[in-house]
């Protein structure tokens, strides 16, 4: 079925009107490949809307170097094969930068194409493997798992004081990568992983998984799934009377999960890479603006998309021209401070692999709201 859909997308793309515009004398072409439907729709929609907000702001001020941004949003349907086909299509039109996708499985296939074309790709993906392939054109907008998992592992050891944990993860590139790093970090801290439960992307019934988790009497349960699955798991966990702390990494504490899970989300704790609820004025202002513009509360993916556009703006104005290779070269090792570019919201640095470093947060869900309880410093500051 996926193969058929991919073929149909390719066929339609080849005969339809040129919806993939090119850069012109007055515009600069930066296509966004996002999960606007399918299992990643929550992530992709937030990512897209963050980009829309930044682009509207910049275009209202004249764009970048006098050129308005032309950012079409193209649906990958949360399918890696479709994402690849769409990437090939947009690359034929000489983009300055490719934005997205968010799903790591899609990023791992699109980034090979952008690398061959020597075009910078800003991604929302978090799988560790993305930045471990010596690809000079890939840049993250949030922590990779190799950076976030040690933080959550420290919290499980020091904050929760757990001796044995259960891990519930989604069986895709994102979930598998997170699970591998988390269990390795647990081992380093002599914490036993007493249950290792894989779930499916798009899974709707978590009764069996929760029963298995209950049976091992873990001190904490680490849940690493996508938004909708996280909400369904939380509902089932509360339904079955799970009392052990439910711990997550960013997604589990996101506003969308809280909205979907309702009261079942209360008490969830964990590490949050990005959040509009952080006690940081720029993030909170972003959250208010986003809510006014789109009539829903943003999650971390919206901040990823928004800051990606401003990072591109800052570096492009710094180098003074639209040169994707030079953009990539300049971004490696660069730090952007809010004082230099307000749209970056929080000081961010990119290393030689394209990984990002910035402050992050420990949070918990209280009365249906994410509450930040501690700010963690940049890794580079340790």
């Amino acid at each position: 079925m996926n193969y058929m859909r991919t073929m149909m997308v390719c066929a339609l793309s080849s005969v339809s009107a040129p919806t993939f515009a090119q850069s012109t004398a007055t515009t600069i072409y930066m296509p966004d490949l996002a999960e606007l439907s399918g299992a990643g729709a929550v992530s992709g929609t937030n990512w897209r809307d963050g980009i829309i907000m930044a682009v509207e702001e910049l275009n209202a001020k004249g764009g970048i170097l006098g050129k308005k941004l032309d950012v079409p949003h193209i649906d990958t349907q949360s399918d890696a094969a479709i994402a690849r086909a769409q990437t090939q299509k947009v690359l034929d039109n000489d983009p300055y930068v490719v934005l997205g996708p968010v799903f790591s499985g899609s990023v791992l296939v699109t980034m090979e194409l952008t690398r061959q074309a020597e075009i910078v790709e800003f991604t929302g993906g978090e799988a560790a493997a993305i930045t471990q392939k010596n690809n000079p054109y890939i840049f993250r907008t949030s922590f990779g798992q190799q950076f976030s998992m040690p933080k959550i592992a420290n919290y499980v050891r020091d904050g929760v004081k757990a001796k044995k944990v259960a891990v519930v993860w989604v069986n895709n590139d994102f979930g598998k990568g997170g699970r591998d790093f988390f269990t390795a970090e647990m081992k380093k801290r002599n914490i036993d992983v007493v249950a290792d439960i894989s779930t499916e992307s798009g899974q709707v019934d978590f009764a069996a998984d929760v029963v298995k988790v209950k049976g091992v009497n873990a001190d904490a349960i680490f849940v690493y799934t996508n938004e909708e699955e996280s909400a369904r798991f939380l509902r089932e966990a509360r339904k079955q009377g799970i009392t052990a702390p439910l711990i997550g990494e960013t997604t589990l504490l996101s506003q969308k999960v809280i909205d979907l899970a309702g009261p079942a989300a209360n008490g969830v704790k964990g590490h949050v890479g990005l959040t509009a609820e952080a006690p940081v004025a720029s993030f909170q202002q972003f959250g208010v603006k986003f809510k006014q513009r789109f009539n829903y509360a943003s999650d971390h993916n919206a901040i990823k998309g928004y800051t990606a556009i401003y990072a591109i703006k800052y570096v492009t104005e710094k180098i003074g021209k639209f040169d994707s290779k030079l953009l990539a070269k300049t971004l490696h090792g660069l730090t952007i401070k809010p004082a230099d570019e307000a749209g970056i919201l929080l000081e961010a640095s990119w290393d030689q692999n394209g990984d990002i470093d910035r402050q992050s947060f420990l949070g918990e869900v209280v009365n249906g709201q994410q509450k930040i309880v501690e700010i963690l410093p940049k890794l580079g500051a340790n």
């Binding site: 399918g38 729709a41 499916e200 009764a207 069996a208 209950k214 369904r232 909205d259």
Partner: protein, 292 residues
Amino acid sequence: MQSFIQLFVSGLATGAIYALAAVGFTLIWQTSQTINFAQGEFVMLPAFFVLAAMDIFGLAFPAACFVGLAASMLVLGVLFKRGIVDFMLPHGVLPLVISTIALSLLLKESVKTFYSSQAQPFPPLTSDIDINILGAIVSVQSVFVLGAAIAAIAALHLFLGHTGVGRQMQATAQNPAVAVLLGIPTKRMIMYTFVINAGLVGLASILISPIYLAKFTNGDSLGLAAFVAAIVGGFNQVRGAIVGGLVLGVFENLSAAYLSSSYRGAFPMILLVLVILFRPQGLLGRVEERTV
């Protein structure tokens, strides 16, 4: 033992939803000898009718449920029968099957376009409390879903077996030509079948959406599960579809918990293959013989 009871009750609740949708498969099969490949989307759509009635018209949840059920019976029952089945069936079964596949895509994309691509929270039908059964904690929600589904199926059984209209519908399904000779208004009976199917999927949608969340892709998994349930139980028997749904729901839960969570998607298919190999008419289905 406690875990087993929890899994068993939860599986029965999920299986009851499969059964509601699977019964629709068998009803339509018996009256029009076709498979409605949009049945999964038929279960997905009524939840959005309910949400739209609440969001757009400001109705309270109970009233919105009635509006959702009525809209389902109109759109998925009457309009589906008049607009697609009546139009396509004279051209043969295959064009109708293809039409239902096209309809499933249309419904899915329409919900995505006109409502949302994101999952929507759906109001719970019961309070968020649990009950203790032999030491196992079982949610009232699961018990309610199971009870409501059983009540609906029992009502359908009584209607088909103990009312004049029900018996006329059965006669139409068994032999339409003879039914016409007996003066039964077969066209109207077939219409009733489609409306009943729409009512059942509407109920299934309202029962399952508080747990699954309302999302345009829900029909993918529900449609497949109901199809498997109908084959496992017996495609030509309503009671077979019921048993198939319940067996599948319990089997899914137990296999994911006690065999492997990683291969949970494969177990129902293994069950399906075993049934096709050793009892192709389904657990409760009857063997049909045809002259060739």
